[in-house]
């Protein structure tokens, strides 16, 4: 009894060790502690835990030291370019279930796209706006789309378009939720109020996963299948263009939108070949 209690204490201690320590490095795009999340939550240069986290753009000092233009500015620019993923994408696969009698099917995720956003964002990005609703479907045991970029305050609907149960949940610090099991034709929703990265899973199908990137501003863009993106109506100023992909470390490029506006091309290569 004595030794087993000892073992139980050890077990509990190791369990606590296994629990992710705050600030520990994480997998690419995998957790709230990613640089992408920190950037999404707060502008660059404010530092972790800064009081500026929720104060909006008025307090933001851009990377170049110049204050971004306010809502009254009419001259804007466009940032466009391409995000190239150098390393091969890793497709999610089911756990090898030796007890599964059936052959099963491969569940390929084809839309593992990158997200590009500005850091810091122009002040106008934080203007009040309507709370939109978007869909993250469950179809053929896959979340569609696999990557969703939304602004804080958005409500995401999770319809079940399969013939089987799904149980959408997330243990992310940004938003923790569990929608329970619900059948085809039904939908449940979650409102995302805090910026950050939310990893979404299905409790029943281990191969199902998705990313929801929640931004405190609207200067972000989901790249297309070729990696091309476009950020429009960017006020003059100096910004960091951040490129995120779940398969690679976060990358940033400094960009200046001149007072005269115009179009700036920023190409980013993610990962290592």
């Amino acid at each position: 009894m004595h030794t087993s209690l000892h073992a139980a204490c050890i077990l509990a201690a190791v369990a606590l060790t296994l629990a992710r320590p705050s600030g520990a490095p994480a997998t690419h795009g995998g957790t709230d502690s990613d640089p992408a999340v920190r950037s999404a939550r707060q502008p660059a240069g404010t530092g972790a835990g800064s009081q500026r986290l929720t104060t909006g753009a008025a307090d933001v000092a851009p990377a170049g030291g110049r204050a971004p233009e306010g809502p009254a500015v009419r001259v804007t620019g466009t940032i466009r370019g391409r995000v190239e993923l150098l390393q091969p994408r890793t497709e999610p696969v089911s756990r090898p279930s030796v007890a599964d009698v059936a052959m099963g099917v491969m569940h390929a995720v084809t839309d593992r796209r990158s997200v590009i956003y500005l850091d810091p964002a122009p002040r106008a990005a934080f203007d009040a706006r309507d709370a939109p609703r978007v869909h993250l479907d469950q179809r053929n045991e896959t979340f569609v789309p696999h990557v969703l970029a939304i602004v804080a305050g958005t409500t995401v609907e999770f319809p079940n378009s399969d013939q089987t149960y799904h149980n959408v949940f997330s243990l992310s610090k940004t938003k923790s939720f569990d929608l329970g099991r619900y059948a085809v034709g039904r939908s449940k929703s979650v409102r995302f109020d805090r910026p950050g990265i939310v990893r979404v899973f299905c409790d029943i199908h281990s191969h199902m996963s998705a990313f929801i990137l929640v931004f405190s501003h609207r200067y972000f863009s989901l790249a297309d299948e070729d990696g091309r993106y476009r950020l429009e109506n960017v006020p003059p100023g100096t910004y960091n263009v951040m490129a995120w992909n779940e398969s690679a470390p976060l990358e940033s490029r400094k960009v200046v939108i001149p007072e005269t506006g115009g179009e700036v091309e920023v190409n980013v290569a993610l990962g290592r070949r």
Binding site: M1, T3, S4, H6, A7, A8, I10, L11, A12, V14, A15, T17, L18, A19, R20, A24, P25, A26, T27, G30, T31, T90, E91, P92, V93, S94, R95, P96, S97, V98, A99, D100, V101, A102, M103, M106, Q163, T164, Y165, F169, S170, L171, S176, F177, D178, G180, R181, Y182, A183, V184, R199, F201, S206, H207, S209
Partner: protein, 402 residues
Amino acid sequence: MSGYARRLLLALAWIATARVAAAQPLPDGPIRAFDGRVVVGGEVTATAGTLDRDAYFNYTDYEHNALRMMRFGVSGVYRPAAWLALVGEVRSEDFNHPRPYAAYARVRPWRDRAFDVEIGRIPPAFGAFGRRPYGTDNPVVGYPLAYQYLTSLRTDAIPATADDLLRMRARGWRASYPIGSQTPAPGIPLVSGFRWDTGVQARWTTGPVELSGAVTNGTLSNPRLGDDNGGKQVSGRMALTPAVGFVVGVSAARGAWLSRTVTPSSGAAPTQRALGADVEYSRDHWIVRAEAIWSRWSFPTALGPSNTDSVGAIASWAEGRYRVTPRIFVAGRVDRLGFSTLQGTAAGGPRSWDAPVRRIEGAVGYYLERHVVLRGTVQRNWRDGGRVTDHTYVSAQLTYWF
């Protein structure tokens, strides 16, 4: 500190150290290679609990304590073609040599039909519990009595009389009989939850109906790699899904169960016959299951003076899990195992040939991560016989899978 605790400590320290050293989390999904044709997953389960050197309520047919066990499992699938998959899993319990738990080829002869054939050491066709992945799908820590509790029957030694059998009541952890092997050894459960059988299985799914049938070397109680019992087991299951989240299944099995060393060379081989029924219903944050198994084992000759040439057992249980929050769940299981009666000479009237057992278990679980689960459980057992008639166990379990 006992040897078990020391090894548990070493293993857990190794996991924690590896994690820190790698400066990144342990993988949370399977490892893939060769364009996804090879997929490897694993599961580590560390269970620390109270000792059980008197009651043996949780001992397994590998002589390990299910509530005090360190288990490593690595499974893999290789798909050389769309119609073929090679599947395997090796497990080590309490740091023993790894054993092949599963090793089979899965073939889908027709691409557009949900018909699969498996050959090798295959998953059980009988029942529902045996196919569920333990770490992620077992709501509590313990196993159902039918799949774990050792009855006093042995496949390599048999009683000559009813009194021989009755003397072994509640001694399934170490039974001995006059015919066959003279060495005391553990008995067999109704259905082994720790070993899979070897043979061929076919499964066909059409609409809400799923049919599976298997021919194997061993029996439910004693799955085998090689055949030592003079006959094959035939088993099957039909599952119906009338609504999403609601599954009803019935199973049956029949096969020669005794080793040739204790059966006469002529005549029909004694059989184990079993019937099973299972049901599962899930909705929202609930999942509820129930299963019942009836099994009967026959002997080569009648056990005098009862004139009974077979004995039976019935096990039934119900379990449920409720997810309170995204990280916390509560679960419980009520379980019962009963035995048929036998007339001996020592006791006044008929007695059950083994001591009936009841069990209740409650658990609380916490998801540290999606793939790291911590469980705490309290299990209470009652038995109508044996040196220890009731016992409470407390255990904690950490499960990690990828």
